[in-house]
Amino acid sequence: MPNPTSTPHPSDPTPPDGLSRRSFLRSSAVVVSGLAALAASLSPLRHLNDFPNVEQFLQKYYKELTPEEMATVLKRIEDEVERQYGLRPHVRDLKPMNGVEFVYALNLTRCIGCRKCVHACVAENNQSRTPEIQYIRVVRLPHGSLDLEKAEHNYNPEMVPEKGYFYMPVQCQQCKNPPCVKVCPVHATWQEADGITVIDYNWCIGCRYCEAACPYWARHFNFTSPSIPKERLNLDMAYLGNRPRRQGVMEKCHFCVQRTRVGRYPACVEVCPVGARKFGNILDPESEVSYILRTKRVFIQLKEELGTSPRFFYYFDV
């Protein structure tokens, strides 16, 4: 329906069927300067050092990888580590052993708060030194109270233990009912048959919901690319364990899967100078942890009321 009042006036310099040269030049200038501004605003991406290549981008979920694909992925990870650190690691995909469920028991009467476990863990598990990521947090509590609101995290005396205090190391409690697994939107973290909750670092999207959900502050995030001195790199690695992580993913204590799934103790157990840390297979009635849980009159699970049912027990010499 032509509308007489809206048709262009005959003297209108703009031809009705196209753009005038001036308006074409003007809109080109706008488009070009817009693109230039866009490019300038994206310039920080030149310093991007952790952009996935096609293989990394398309890598399948851990549980969907065939053994052949897994072998390719493991080799690729070894190549990546070698390229970055100049050392060739041995990366394995270790599966849970049959008839094994790991349990941890920690003797609060014995712990002296020396934090040797914290540092042994960092060294064993290739944790970032700057920024610092630690899986174990040892807190100092006043005599007689388990109220974590009273916990001192940064205690730093000349000598431990101190009078009037006791020490409680906290790490992943390997819950039977883990809130972190429940909340993960992409199944990037799950509980394995031996009770260890693991993370597929190549699948995690870094939403940090698990970090909010964990009642034990056991999950830690790589806020930037982790940095590990080359000479400190532990070359004995596992896919679900201590292989170097990438920027933007979660990590946590995994009971040293690279050790425990081949029959060794976790690093924290080995290093403890007072024998406060006990680790073993609860399904084996002869194991040390089975003996402890059978014979100790009092042992506790941290925040038992939350129903997370930890596989980590604190006990006392009574």
């Binding site: 329906m1 032509p2 509308n3 009042t5 809206s6 262009p8 817009g34 501004a37 300038a40 605003s41 994206l42 310039s43 920080p44 991406l45 310093h47 991007l48 050092n49 952790d50 952009f51 996935p52 981008f57 979920y61 920024p131 807190v139 109220d147 974590l148 609101e149 009273k150 916990a151 995290h153 809130p179 429940k182 909340v183 939107p185 992409v186 199944h187 699948w203 995690c204 999207i205 870094g206 939403c207 940090r208 919901y209 970090e211 909010a212 959900a213 964990c214 009642p215 034990y216 502050w217 790589n222 806020f223 930037t224 990438r246 920027q247 933007g248 993913v249 925040k303 939350l306 997370t308």
Partner: protein, 581 residues
């Protein structure tokens, strides 16, 4: 089929072109927003390269203002239903115009929500792990997977509803009820669900006693229904201001010069005039001869010249009008200015609402060009509405008017009022439970409201929020907020107060102290703040573009009928139509 696709593409093309034209105010506004978008993009590029270390977040406080903004905006999106419910369930006609604006706001808010969660991800390159069927979707266990579904679903619902209604309006068709009403009702339930699910993200965490409270869900809804409509009240006044065309001293319309205005010539209507109308309203052709005679009783045809006033705002005369030929604009006087509310072509009607209701005219109609207008007494209109098919058309057109009335804003005000009262009440409940029982879990609340062990970064924030909310509540209860000036102040207080209460006052303290009792504070970094500003600018940019397209369609100035004409806005005139002498 190909024709339908072509029509739709032309529609999108014409809408898209509109986004790039406007007056200097429009260009300035869009330019400023674009600059903020680019600053935000630049900040995000820095974060993408270096990781979230450039934010103020830490392992202790692992969510910050990104998730705080996300939470707030989910509420804004959910609040769109507060326009929809009165219209579709209680048949409130005043709010009808606002439904589309509310839903467009919901769309913009959801886009911002999606942007905020994306920038919060450590590995945004792995977003595809979240796509159901392609990635690994932990549904229904993870509340975050619910959120992915409900937010994207809500986005699609709203895009469908507004897109469909606007396209129908553009085509001059009556929307098919079955194609949108069911979605409207789904969207109502859905809106409640998006905010409940977002609340459950927090409520479901047993290890965070500050969040692990059943009242968080209702609190989220109450605060959303306060802040959302408050935002719409402000946005609608901006729309009203921007679409205002001529100052009220427009000589042809001012009341003082009533006498000098030319009245159009009129003659008695004949059956041939109904034939003319039937060309545009085919349903009319089936009307038998006797019925035509009774419809034509008392009917006249006005032969108007450009500029003739056909009906005048404030008058009461029970006549309705149909355009037979030419174009007519309807203008409303508001706050001393005239705003074009509609532009009508052949076959379209005006004046029928006040004719049927016997109320004063809500606007004045002026012939834009030489026009033929059929003027019917209200009895004839009622007879016309007994014709099968016509009643539906007339009624549906009645409800498609772009009228942002003060009464509609006042309806929104009562929603804000009630919601704010409930919100403050629920907050008081939470505070009582936390402090009176005095158990060990009060640490986060103590930190928030009073400070804990010498740490009190959030104390000024929360008391500002409480102060704003209380002042807003008092203003809302007092009659003073019936004046738009005070209502606007109140709305700003509501929005800021609730933004703080839900963001800095709910998301952040949940992390302080940590589950192991460590006290680490949080404040957003500059980079993080720039990203937030960028996303807000992006959202406002989207909303502006949506309105830029929707307003002319609702006014009838952008329609299939005028497809062949040069775009009204493209000549650089801005939001006003190019009315030529």
């Amino acid at each position: 089929m190909r024709q339908a696709v072509r029509n739709y593409l032309v529609f999108l093309w014409r809408c898209g072109r509109l986004a790039f034209v406007g007056d200097w105010r429009y260009y300035t506004w869009m330019g400023v927003l674009s600059v903020f978008c680019l600053l935000g993009l630049n900040a995000y590029a820095r974060q993408f390269a270096n990781g979230l270390i450039v934010t103020g977040m830490s392992d202790q406080v692992s969510w910050g203002v990104y998730i705080a903004n996300f939470t707030f905006l989910v509420g804004v999106a959910a609040a769109a239903v507060m326009m929809v419910i009165p219209v579709y369930i209680y048949k409130n006609e005043e709010l009808h115009e606002l439904v589309i604006f509310g839903e467009l706001l919901a769309v913009a808010a959801i886009l911002m929500c999606l942007a905020f969660v994306t920038v919060d991800l450590g590995r945004p390159d792995r977003f595809w792990h979240l796509i159901p069927g392609i990635g690994q979707f932990n549904f229904p266990a993870s509340m975050l997977s619910w959120d992915v579904l409900v937010l994207n679903g809500y986005l699609l619902l709203n895009v469908h509803i507004c897109g469909y209604l606007l396209y129908c309006r553009y085509r001059g068709r009556t929307p098919a009820k079955w194609f949108y009403i069911p979605f409207v009702f789904i969207a109502i339930v859905w809106a409640v669900s998006i905010h409940t699910v977002t609340a459950f993200l927090y409520v479901g965490l047993g290890g965070r006693p500050f969040w692990n409270s059943a009242i968080v869900g209702p609190r989220f809804l109450a605060s959303a229904f306060t802040a959302g409509p408050a935002l719409i009240i402000l946005a609608m006044q901006v729309v009203r201001r921007v679409t205002a065309s001529a100052p009220a001293n427009d000589t042809s319309l001012s009341r003082g010069e009533l006498g000098t205005v030319q009245r159009p010539k009129s003659r008695a209507a004949a059956s041939s005039d109904l034939d003319l109308l039937a060309r545009h309203l085919p349903e009319l052709a089936s009307v038998p001869k006797e019925a035509r005679q009774s419809i034509l009783a008392g009917a006249t045809v006005l032969e108007a010249n450009a500029g003739d006033v056909l009906l005048r705002q404030g008058n009461t005369e029970q006549r309705a009008f149909f355009v037979l030929k030419g174009r007519v604009v309807v203008k409303r006087e508001e706050g001393g200015r005239f705003r074009i509310t509609r532009s009508l072509g052949p076959g379209e009607q005006f004046g029928e609402i006040s004719a049927l209701a016997g109320t004063p005219r809500t606007g004045s109609a002026v012939a834009e060009e030489p026009a033929l207008i059929l003027s019917l007494p209200v009895d004839s209109l009622r007879k016309l509405m007994t014709v099968p098919g016509l009643k539906k058309i007339i009624r549906s057109r009645m409800s498609e008017r772009l009228l942002i009335t003060d009464r509609a804003l006042m309806t929104l005000r009562s929603i804000v009022q009630v919601s704010m009262l409930i919100n403050v009440f629920l907050l008081a409940n939470e505070v009582f439970k936390e402090f009176y029982s005095g158990n060990l879990h009060v640490a986060s609340s103590k930190y928030l409201f009073l400070g804990l062990h010498g740490h009190h970064a959030l104390v000024p924030w929360i008391w500002t929020a409480i102060g704003f909310n209380l002042v807003a509540m008092v203003l809302l209860v007092l009659p003073v907020s019936r004046s738009l000036k005070w209502l606007n102040v109140t709305c700003v207080l509501c929005i800021v107060g609730i933004w703080i209460e839900k963001g800095m006052g709910l998301v952040i303290p949940g992390f302080i102290p940590t589950p192991l009792g460590e006290l680490v504070e949080y404040s957003p970094s500059l980079n993080e703040t720039l990203v937030c500003f960028g996303i807000w600018a992006f959202g406002l940019l989207c909303y502006t573009i949506f309105l830029r397209m929707a307003v002319p369609i609702l006014q009838g100035r952008l329609s299939k009928a005028n497809e062949a004409q040069p775009e009204f806005g493209v000549s650089g005139v801005g939001p006003q139509p190019a009315v030529q002498p």
